[in-house]
Amino acid sequence: MNRLTHYLPLALFIVLVLGLFTFLDREESDLRSVLLNKDFPNFSLSRLDNAEIITKDDLLELPSLLNVWATWCVACLVEHPFLMELKNESRIKIYGLNYKDDRNKALKLLDRIGDPYELSIFDKDGKLAIDLGVYGAPETFLIDNEGIIRVRHVGVLTPEVWEQKFNSVLSKLKEDEK
């Protein structure tokens, strides 16, 4: 047996490991964004601050962000200052999706730390969240002028993530508008 065949199993193993790494990595981002470039799902839920029922048509200011948050979500507090910054510098409007939460607790929290949202949708049973494929909080979606989901981010929205994932898409949307 020659030398080359000795190393064949090792070579195969390396190929397998590299293959699995690239394949599984790609898988992750692919599988979790089935709703990308699809219409934002319709819904009929109450506002957080009053009992008024709202639907997709009440999300007037597009393009905008939809941010999934809750009082039980610690990571949401981490991204809160950045959401306030986006609002105060009026870079983009943000709608909130209050996810599986207690209405009073949620309103109290917003009173205390500030409300970055145009309005929040009160999704106690996670109905709209399921339609969006949400499986935790925080999550952030970018919805374009036609109500189509363009970006989805699972986890804390940091300035870095904003630059990498959202800003370029948003400026392109604004350019197309002109």
Binding site: M1, L16, D30, V34, Y135
Partner: protein, 157 residues
């Protein structure tokens, strides 16, 4: 002493009974639907907790999805419709048995291809290692002949 033991045993069992009752209970119109529900929640993976199915998970999202599956069954949806409902929202991720498509082909064919490759390798390795002793024998014969020729040459000197 005996009494204490009896009471503590009772206490232990009462705890487990209590935890049983905190599980969500779903009622169905008939046993077939109930059977379908249990099969379905066994079939799909919890999106939050990657190594568990919906049935085995207590994550809020798993509870919500169980509730949705219950609702869809009650609405008379078929298993296929329920799968479409779930995979159009959560993708292939929640399917333990992904559909055969271009990007899932490696999952389906990969193991068989690898198995075949290993078989081929083992067979080849066996053939070459069996041939080796014979070759050695031939080599020995050649060496023996050469040795006698050398000997002869030295003797002739």
């Amino acid at each position: 002493m005996k009494n204490k033991l009896f009471i503590s045993i009772l206490f232990i069992f009462s705890l487990s009974l209590q935890s049983e009752t905190t599980k969500e209970i779903y009622s169905f119109a008939n046993d077939v639907d109930q059977e379908r529900f249990y099969t379905l929640v066994d079939t799909y993976r919890c999106p939050k907790c990657q190594s568990s199915n919906l049935a085995g998970s207590n994550a809020p999202i798993a509870k919500d999805l169980k509730r949705e599956i219950h609702r869809l069954i009650e609405e008379g949806k078929t298993d296929e419709q329920i799968e479409v409902f779930l995979s159009s929202r959560y993708g292939d991720f929640i399917l333990y048995k992904p559909a055969i498509r271009k990007n899932t082909l490696i999952l389906w064919i990969g193991p068989f291809a690898l198995f075949l490759l290993i078989i081929l390798f083992v067979v080849r390795w066996n053939i070459t290692s069996k041939r080796q002793p014979k070759d050695l024998e031939a080599e020995n014969i050649v060496k023996a002949i050469e040795r006698t020729r050398l000997k002869k040459l030295v003797e002739d000197e």
